[in-house]
Symmetry: C2
DNA sequence: CTGAAAGCGCTTACAG
DNA sequence: CTGAAAGCGCTTACAG
């Protein structure tokens, strides 16, 4: 028994000269309270700066009014942007966000083993991350709604973009400029794992080449962690090939920024010597002049949050595939004459 | 009364043939439980995948085991990085993070008016944001520990860097290279508010000029929202002056990236024609070749979280000022001959 | 070392 | 429209 000297519903009830049951109903806007009574109770609660104890409320039957958001790493622009949108939407619905960061494989496996969100949230929004089947299946023990943002995980309701089409769009742009030697920098996370968006973008890249009648060259596909520094290293590696590519499609803009600078460090000009294309439309893409395929990250987060809200309301939801858009800037141009073999 | 068909402590007690009191003690590692009894209880709880109801636990006297983290915007690198570190440290102590994003003035004033963390958390970590005195004082009604990361707010325990010294270091570097026309791009947030780090950096910049015997030129200080695009605009504005600066100190690396690209778009070379210095050491700074003053953002977050943990343990804490470091790369060089008057 | 019982602060049938 | 009372699932003195 701990004295918390917080103001309780009983205090409000006493001041209002009614029972706690009536205060409870009045404060939550439930029917069955006289208008005058309700007004008086609301005034007193306001005056006393009373807030309902979430614990007691929950214990006696209410929802937690909390949603767990699982994100790989908030310091990455993509995830930070998505988290921002999710938080905003949930906050607007007066739900609290419980943040779970799953930044490496050890934390991930611990998360799915222990499921720390249990008994704490009404729903979980998962920002897409690579998940072994065994960990995916643990989600069934969560006992709450699960929705996925920025990809798909099993059959949970999800919001995504068409990653295959995105990569294909980028390749088509490069082919249209006359490129035939097009490389791709893939990205890994958690050491060397590829997640769905990466695999799908690879497929789109290969499909784009096939469509243009171009060969697949194994040496034109490299995988690196998705940081600018690794993007630069990947570009240097690609340019050291006997027959180097004249265009590079990067998994994301952040990788592409690194690639552009890596090429310049090599004394190459972008786009005159090598073209670079990213994916995202990162806030820096415009000033960097990066040609990219834009996706609306915030909208994905907002819609996923919206889906979670609908599910909490026992409503049906439909999966969403958001559109994308090629944004041509100054990092792409026709290949140099002599490189056209 | 809602049936949640969750497993309760009573179920565990029944299976173990003991009272709930004993289960409660055993699970929390409290003394006064026989070793054999404890082991059996732990096994049964494990087998049943039982987790203590946080609500019930809290209601009967325990802490919430939640910490509120208030952040201006998770999509900004600085805040995302700091949030990541805070979450990691709190998670390691088995505390949950309740995320509050205060992305504009309306949300901010609502946050401080309603204090939505009340009765929900044991402590609050505030990532420094500009706060009117009236809103600062509202924090006293929170009833829990408050610590501040990345700046200071009134007399709350805090972790910060020496923003004055950081800016002065940058100016000294430029002066050392021979620059005498040094501009500064300040940053605003929430429309046109300046927060403490910005004001302190301005002071450091002015102190650096004074120290070098250089005049303060009003037209050399411009304020923009802290985005790359606005950084580019600021650089263009500065270069349009009758006597343009030969070096630009930017509030942050993100602003500096924009400035560099803005200058290049004007046909100017960095650093041959204009030097640019940032602050942070953003992940892109290396590939961009940006000279900057590095601060350890993650360490600030981690230490602030640590401080909150200590305060929850009723321990004393000391404010921390972390060190910074000039990182010279290729965006700074002596001023061009002809510009030296 | 262990248990019975009160109490935490609400919500919700059930009565009136 | 309103209230008395049970119950949510724990923790913690208090006894033994």
């Amino acid at each position: 028994m701990v004295s918390r000297n917080e103001i309780n519903m009983a205090d409000v009830a006493q001041r209002a000269g009614v029972s706690v049951a009536t205060v409870s109903r009045a404060l939550r806007g439930l029917p069955g309270v006289g208008e005058a009574t309700r007004t008086r109770i609301l005034e007193i609660a306001e005056e006393l700066a009373y807030v309902i104890s979430p614990e007691a409320s929950r214990l006696s039957g209410g929802p937690t009014r909390r949603v767990g958001v699982v994100v790989p790493a908030t310091e990455k622009w993509f995830y930070g942007e998505m988290l921002a949108a999710i938080e905003r939407r949930l906050r607007a619905a007066d739900l609290d966000v419980l943040l779970y960061q799953v930044s490496d494989v050890a934390v991930r496996s611990r998360f799915f083993r222990e499921l720390p969100t249990r008994r704490k949230v009404d729903a979980v929004v998962l920002i897409a991350l690579p998940l072994p089947q065994q960990e995916v299946d643990r989600l069934d023990h969560l006992g709450v709604e699960v929705v996925v943002a920025g990809g798909r995980i099993r059959d949970f309701p999800h919001v995504e973009v068409d990653d295959r089409a995105i990569a294909r769009t980028a390749v088509e742009h490069l082919v249209g400029l006359g490129h035939s030697r097009i490389a791709m920098v893939r990205a890994t996370i958690y050491g060397d794992e590829h997640w769905a968006p990466d695999t799908l973008r690879l497929e789109g890249y290969l499909a784009g080449l096939t469509e243009a009648g171009l060969p697949h060259r194994e040496e034109y596909v490299v995988s690196v962690p998705f940081t600018p520094t690794d993007g630069a290293a990947a570009a240097e590696q690609l340019r050291s090939l006997p027959e180097p590519p004249t265009a590079i499609l990067c998994f994301s803009d952040e990788v592409a920024f690194g690639a552009m600078q890596g090429l310049r460090a090599l004394g190459l000009r972008v786009p005159e010597d090598v073209s670079v294309v990213g994916i995202d439309d990162h806030p820096l893409a415009e000033v960097m002049g990066l040609t990219t395929v834009r996706q609306d990250v915030a909208a994905q987060g907002e819609l996923a949050a919206e889906m979670a809200l609908l599910r909490l309301d026992h409503r049906r939801v439909e999966d969403v595939v958001l559109s994308h858009e090629l944004v041509v800037r100054s990092s792409t141009a026709p290949p140099p004459e002599r490189a056209d073999a």
